[in-house]
Amino acid sequence: MCLGVPGKILTLEPNPVGMTMGKVSFGGAAKEVCLAYVPEAQVGDYVLVHAGFALNTLDEAEAMEVFELLKEMGEIDQ
């Protein structure tokens, strides 16, 4: 029960109740998402969205880890 989809924040709409909302784009398909759980997120950041809520920002540097490991494995082959 964990379908989380990465999307890019297009807009931020802080609201008085404290429940920041925003438009997040998934490959061009944009939806309203609650951003209250990622208070530090900015427009242009990528977030992981589940059931209408952003649960975390995606760390670009960490995202490369998988490919770093693959490169290392490739080097061992040589």
Partner: protein, 377 residues
């Protein structure tokens, strides 16, 4: 698509598969505990690409599957009430209730013949609606002040922050017509139950990446220590799963145990603090029934007394509704990874996606449905 496509690259997948093949010197049994991961493994065919020494076992990672049958029956009773708009995620709509349902609904003292599932309640005129987010249910409550809006809050820790926010928002807005039917379950106690069960075959775990996005990874450290099991927090794309399996096999081969994090782009040791804060405000840990497994102490969430007004079970007085399982369904053994779906006598015969006997065949993240749809017979 960024953060998706690059994790579906064939050449990179081949590299991981080769590396795993080189590492492996004996048989290993690894369990993944999230339905989303089961889905990816089978959909991308990874389970058939791995070296034969590796056995993948699918754990109770489908909250739909572990929701107790009586809760489905209670949902059906509530949904039949004329003043109720019953909202839910898609999967729950097709889980069948008890085979024969005659209830006494306490407040109306009427004996009503239960419907088969929530979709059939809709077919008979009940207002049952699928939503993508609990916030949609709150919006419905605002838009329909004369109706009672109920949201079927089923899920692991991934979904709980959203449900907490919905309840919190409802309170801020002063809504008296919104409530949730709560069936929240927690992963670490389930893992402990599996690892601690006599006859347990599981040697390594892929922990659920999105659950850990919320809760962090620190809860798994005592588990890894106690049971001397490698636990690798893993993502959901094919390369994530392959790397997670690689890391698990490496640890097993090297005789190591402990928690490792494959899904570092989305998971930190501490987890999401604002989410945990609101969870603690709205929910408290409680004992929970896991369908097919039985009661596991301190394995679920319930609403705190301060938010009890939003509990649909209390509001609609359905706590007395009890359930009756199909004798043919071995969901429990499937969910604990003791049997594979195709080893069930009813698989593909009396039990198919059209006529499911139990939840793992209904939920698209259930192991039985995945095996059936993707042709593992």
């Amino acid at each position: 698509m960024r953060f998706i496509d690059e994790y579906r690259n064939e050449a990179d997948a081949r590299k991981f598969l080769t590396a795993i093949g080189r590492l492996v010197t004996r048989d290993w049994t690894i369990m993944e505990i999230c339905g989303g991961q089961t889905h990816t493994l089978i959909k991308s065919g990874i389970d058939r690409l791995l070296p034969p020494q590796i056995t993948l076992v699918h754990g109770p990672g489908c909250p739909v599957c572990v929701t107790p049958l009586e809760l489905i029956d209670r949902a059906i009773v509530i949904a039949q009430r004329p003043e109720v708009i019953f909202t839910s995620f898609g999967d729950m709509l097709r889980v069948p209730g008890s085979p024969q349902q005659t209830f006494e609904v306490s407040q109306t003292s009427k004996v009503s013949r239960g419907a088969q599932d929530l979709l059939s309640v809709k077919a008979r005129g009940g207002d049952v609606r699928m939503v993508y987010s609990p916030l949609d249910a709150v919006k419905l409550a605002q838009a329909h002040p004369d109706q009672q809006v109920v949201f079927f809050a089923v899920g692991f820790e991934t979904t709980a922050p959203g449900n907490a926010m919905a309840v919190w928002q409802a309170r801020q807005l002063g809504l008296t017509n919104f409530s949730i039917l709560c069936s929240h379950v927690l992963v670490p106690p389930a893992m402990a139950a599996i690892l601690g069960a006599p006859g347990n075959q599981v040697q390594g775990f892929l922990a659920a990446g999105h659950v850990c996005t919320v809760m962090g990874t620190w809860e798994y450290e005592p588990l890894a220590e106690t049971y001397r099991t490698p636990i690798v927090v893993t993502g959901f794309e094919p390369l994530d799963l392959l790397q997670g399996i690689y890391m698990t096999v490496k640890a097993l081969e090297e005789g190591r145990w402990g928690v490792e994090n494959q899904y570092t782009r989305a998971v930190t040791r501490a987890g999401n603090r604002p989410a945990q804060k609101l969870l603690a405000e709205v929910f408290e840990v409680s004992d929970r029934q896991w369908r097919g497994i039985g009661p596991i102490p301190a394995s679920g969430y319930r609403l705190r007394p301060a938010y009890a007004a939003f509990d649909a079970e209390q509001r609609f007085g359905v706590a007395g509704v009890t359930a009756q399982e199909s004798p043919l369904c071995i969901a429990g053994q499937i969910l604990q990874g003791l049997k594979k779906p195709h080893e069930c006598r009813a698989f593909g015969l009396q039990c198919t996606p059209e006529h499911p006997l139990g939840a793992p065949m209904v939920s698209s993240e259930g192991a039985c449905a995945a095996y059936f749809s993707y042709g593992r017979t």
